[in-house]
Symmetry: D2
Subunit: 115 residues, 4 copies
């Protein structure tokens, strides 16, 4: 994913509409959270099994793609504002989690995963 | 961002811990939403102005980087499960939004942005 | 539930700590959403079946009671600020929903419930 | 607020539509979180100051009342399922918080409130 290109396009989009004044990190964090809930709404009454088949329905698939796009857009905008390199952050977090959740201790356990 | 590499590392991480059984799309959507709220918690009592300075505090900056990493990780895992190409989805959504929010009509307006 | 008594106690609590300045409706709405996610976190990796048994574990039961209390507290504070009578609002909403979801059309259907 | 009456009406509503099968605590916790985000959406681009005036616009006021009603409905349903007495829980939580946040130490401080 060319995050720089997407961030530039989003910045251009905001600039043209003079919307940057709304985009304080606090507001972008709210918007990101709201978009994730819109995505979650697609799954709320489904069983786990049925949730694996949501892309079979073209209308639902289109809505889900749009919600994932909105989440990605706000995530990239917020990371841009805060000068966070997401790729670097996520790779470091995976290493950190590998140390925090050693295989021998956490294998197959949701209980331990939870706490 | 090399999304394929990150998705592979996350898949490997889950596989080693036998956690994939917990990762139905419904559950990943919940986890994504929960992580966004943990990020939002960092901003909840700040003014918009102060929210622009959160990275000046090294401890808060580290927490925010970790939350952004968690969000990215769940977003990529969920997109992977649902076979959604996030880069393609976001670029299409920007075009769609450009048609939905024409510059001349929405310039500078939060009210219109909201509805 | 004596909502007036609880709202008075919460107002007193904020007043003593000079926290009312943080409690703009926007911030209370964020806090309410954050608390709901903390509650949701308790359920995120559980099956629906297991989620019905969460109160059997005393530690988890205590955490859930605390999260429900936090949600109630922010909900009552926000309703107080906005002068919304929650009892009246919910009873009217039930009537509205009864008209929107007629029994004969929506019986047993999650799909229709969803949309 | 007559929580028992509201809970009975909500139970009746679900029973008539055979929706109780969707209402595992996990799903109700998701629904509660989704409704809180719909409320938060009303505030997301507003300044804190403007958020104090949302009830002046009759349309927005009606939407906010409806969202607060939805949140109350899911909160009461979930508390009912888990046999939690919300009034008791919130009064105990206020006492707990009074001990956790002594006036002399936390007066006027958002920073301390946050952590």
């Amino acid at each position: 994913m060319n995050t720089k290109l997407i961030q530039d396009r989003l910045a251009q989009f905001s600039l043209e509409r003079d919307w940057d004044k709304f985009h304080a990190p606090k507001n972008l964090a709210i918007a990101l959270s709201v978009e994730c809930s819109e995505l979650l709404e697609e799954f709320q009454w489904l069983t786990e099994e049925d949730s694996a088949c949501v892309m079979n329905d073209p209308d639902q698939a289109a809505r889900i793609r749009d919600e994932l796009a909105d989440i990605t857009a706000y995530l990239l905008q917020l990371a841009g504002k805060l000068s966070v390199d997401l790729e670097d952050a996520v790779l470091k977090k995976i290493e950190k989690n590998a140390a925090k959740y050693p295989v021998e201790k956490f294998k197959g356990s949701a209980k331990k995963y939870n706490r």
